[in-house]
């Protein structure tokens, strides 16, 4: 499934200053029963957003109208646990295009990149600055500049650069995905496959 191109994103952000947010929290297993990629955003952080009787948990950040935007800012080790791509789908379908953290779990990071959510890893110090800035002014805007690989707090101008390999960067900038690439390589892959011992 192709996704929208990602170049420069200016948005307010939703802060979630909790560490080790696992993919079971991002989307609990009982919501993985679809056979199509539809409606996962509704169940993003389901058990943190809703009480068992489906009423809203008012104290949870996604239920606080002060915080909104296309950027989700999470604590260290974001996306640990299960490989479910549904977690990245839920983040995307809810309306986020970028997740910022000081550390990402491997599979979640890869899944995000494959579906058009940009994972931006910043230093622990810069992450603290972001949380503080949003806490002080929830309307704080953040700029994610993919061509320049920078993240900027637009209120203060404080800036940090982030890493992304040039292959994935090109993909994100153009809305390409790996399947397009691999499909074009099929003959080369077949030549390789015949040499495998099993």
């Amino acid at each position: 499934m192709a996704y929208d191109k990602f170049e420069i994103l200016k948005s307010t952000a939703v802060p979630l200053p909790i560490e080790n947010v696992d993919t079971d929290q991002i989307i609990p297993a009982r919501f993985l029963k679809a056979t199509e990629r539809k409606g996962f955003g509704d169940n993003l952080f389901r058990d943190w957003r809703y009480n068992p009787d489906n009423t809203l948990k008012k104290e949870f950040v996604l239920n606080n109208p002060i915080y909104k935007g296309k950027i989700l800012v999470g604590g260290k080790n974001f996306g640990s646990g299960s490989s479910r791509e549904h977690a990245a789908w839920a983040v995307y379908d809810y309306g986020f295009r970028c997740v910022v953290s000081s550390f990402f779990a491997d599979i979640f990071r890869g899944n995000c990149l494959n579906i058009g959510v940009l994972p931006v890893q910043v230093s622990a110090a810069f992450l603290d600055k972001i949380f503080k800035a949003i806490e002080d002014h929830p309307a704080t805007e953040i700029e994610i500049n993919l061509p320049n690989q920078t993240i900027t707090l637009l209120t203060s101008g404080e800036k940090e650069s982030f890493e992304i390999n040039s292959y994935k960067k090109e993909n994100m900038l153009n809305g390409y995905d790996d399947i397009d690439y691999l499909t074009k390589m099929k003959e080369e892959i077949k030549d390789f496959a015949v040499k495998r011992p099993f």
Partner: protein, 464 residues
């Protein structure tokens, strides 16, 4: 300079290296199940792609399947729909499918090794993070997302940056009642759940050398819980003995050819790792977790650490203990437990049932405990009966259920109710993992058994 086992297997599967990008990485074996594959098949159709090598993919139903009355239609319409999709997609593309009721059916990471699908030197992926299990055979095995499942179906490749390499050495001899599960929970408690992120871990040293294949599978299975993409253990005689004669294992001349290749699968003496850690077996006692991630574990006789003694943020730590209803300084032994779960791709094999039976033999299930004993596959289920373990556990007041992932992730009806406390041999104690509001203590089959007969968290060494 020498190379590592991991390098040898990885490098031999690189179809193409992309400059400042991932490797185009060839996959020998692809395992699929009902939950993470339907959208991949849909994507395949939408792009007018085909399955390139149907005989390199194997399908089983495990994640959402019921563990009782498997002969009846699945009641939950959404689960039934996923199972039907797997069956139809497999049939359409000619992929071997061991669905519900099939004699080879079981948890994907149990049936792979059991049927000789898992081989040393192979690359194995599945849309499930515990695919790391198969590393026990000297394979490179790891979990992937659904987009990657589609990539493997259509091209037998995925695009992966090569991880860094870590070696974890544990020498010495494990004490009484200390199992492979405890070894893994010990390592995770030292490294935290992100300590091995970005790495592939090779396990080496006396402890892993003397471990059975099933024990090695348990350790490699939990590699993901320290953040590692996977774990790997060099194959040896035990590995070859385990594989020989299994359904998909190489036979005749193919076996001899395979053995020649497998014998070179070890880390050279002068190979360098990006990170190396060493522990001694004597440091490890039976483990139990007390928090909401697998890194929050401790020796069973310890108390819950204070927030200032642990790595990471105090807010997160307190949130976690608050969810569990525990206090800093609490003693774990003696906590009243409601549920015991024996099973999962971590501890659902025959040795786990032997361990459980060794403790419950001649004792009775505690009245306050609801126990779910779920074999990893029909083959395990049959072994339990053949070895007389079924008689032992039945006599002790337990029932055996039918194979599946079950309460590990509670996608079926095996849900621990809100607020209830479970001792589980599975792999994750995340909030709500075993059902909304459930509270999980991860432990070995021995701890699970000791708890099941006493009704409270119990050190199994007191019952051995």
């Amino acid at each position: 300079m020498g190379t590592t086992l991991f390098d040898k297997v990885w490098d031999s599967h690189v179809v193409k290296k992309i400059q400042d990008g991932p490797d185009v990485f060839f996959i020998d074996r692809h395992l699929i199940h009902e939950v993470t594959s339907p959208v991949a098949f849909l994507g395949l159709k939408n792009r007018n792609n085909t399955v390139l090598y149907p005989n390199k993919t194997f399908a089983t139903a495990d994640h959402n399947t019921p563990t009782i009355n498997q002969h009846l239609p699945v009641e939950d319409p959404l689960s039934a729909n996923q199972l039907k999709a797997l069956e139809e997609n497999s049939a359409e593309w000619g992929i071997p499918h061991w669905g519900l009721g099939h004699q080879k059916n079981g948890i994907v990471h149990v049936i792979g090794p059991e049927n000789g699908i898992t081989l040393p030197g192979a690359t194995i992926v599945c849309g499930d993070s515990h695919t790391s299990t198969h590393g026990a055979f000297g394979a490179i095995a790891f979990g992937i997302g659904t987009s990657e499942v589609e990539m493997v179906l259509s091209s037998q490749c995925i695009m992966q940056p090569k991880p860094k390499k870590m070696r974890i050495n544990i020498n010495g001899e494990l004490g009484l009642g200390v199992t492979p599960k405890d070894v893994a929970l010990f390592i995770i408690s030292k490294l935290t759940t992100s300590g091995a992120t970005g790495y592939f871990v090779e396990y080496a040293g006396d402890v892993f050398k003397s471990m059975t294949m099933e024990g090695r599978m348990t350790v490699c299975n939990l590699s993901i819980e320290m953040g590692a993409r996977g774990g790997i253990i060099a194959p040896d005689e035990k590995t070859y003995d385990y594989i020989k004669g299994r359904l998909f294992a190489p036979k005749g001349e193919d076996w001899d050819t395979a053995m020649k290749y497998w014998k070179i699968l070890k880390t050279d003496e002068d190979a360098i790792f990006d990170k190396e850690l060493t522990f001694n077996a004597s440091e490890i006692e039976p483990m139990i977790t007390y928090g909401t991630n697998p890194g929050m574990g401790t020796g069973i006789s310890n108390q819950i650490p204070n927030a200032n003694e642990v790595e990471g943020g105090i807010t997160t730590y307190k949130k976690s203990l608050n969810y569990m209803g525990f206090e800093e300084g609490d003693t774990m032994i003696g906590k009243k437990v409601d549920y015991v779960f024996l099973g999962s791709c971590t501890n659902g094999r025959i040795e786990d049932f032997r361990a459980f039976a060794s403790i419950v033999k001649g004792r009775k299930k505690a009245a306050n405990i609801t126990a779910w004993l779920v074999p990893g596959s029909h083959i395990v289920e049959a072994e339990i009966e053949e070895e007389g373990l079924l008689a032992i556990i039945t006599e002790a007041g337990f029932e055996l259920r039918q194979p599946g992932c079950s309460a590990c992730l509670a996608m079926n009806d095996d849900k621990v109710p809100p607020g209830k406390l479970a001792v589980s041999t599975s792999n994750r104690n995340f909030e709500g993992r075993q059902g909304p509001g459930s509270r999980t203590l991860l432990a070995s089959p021995l701890v699970a058994a000791a708890t099941a007969v006493t009704g409270v968290v119990t050190d199994p060494r007191t019952l051995l």
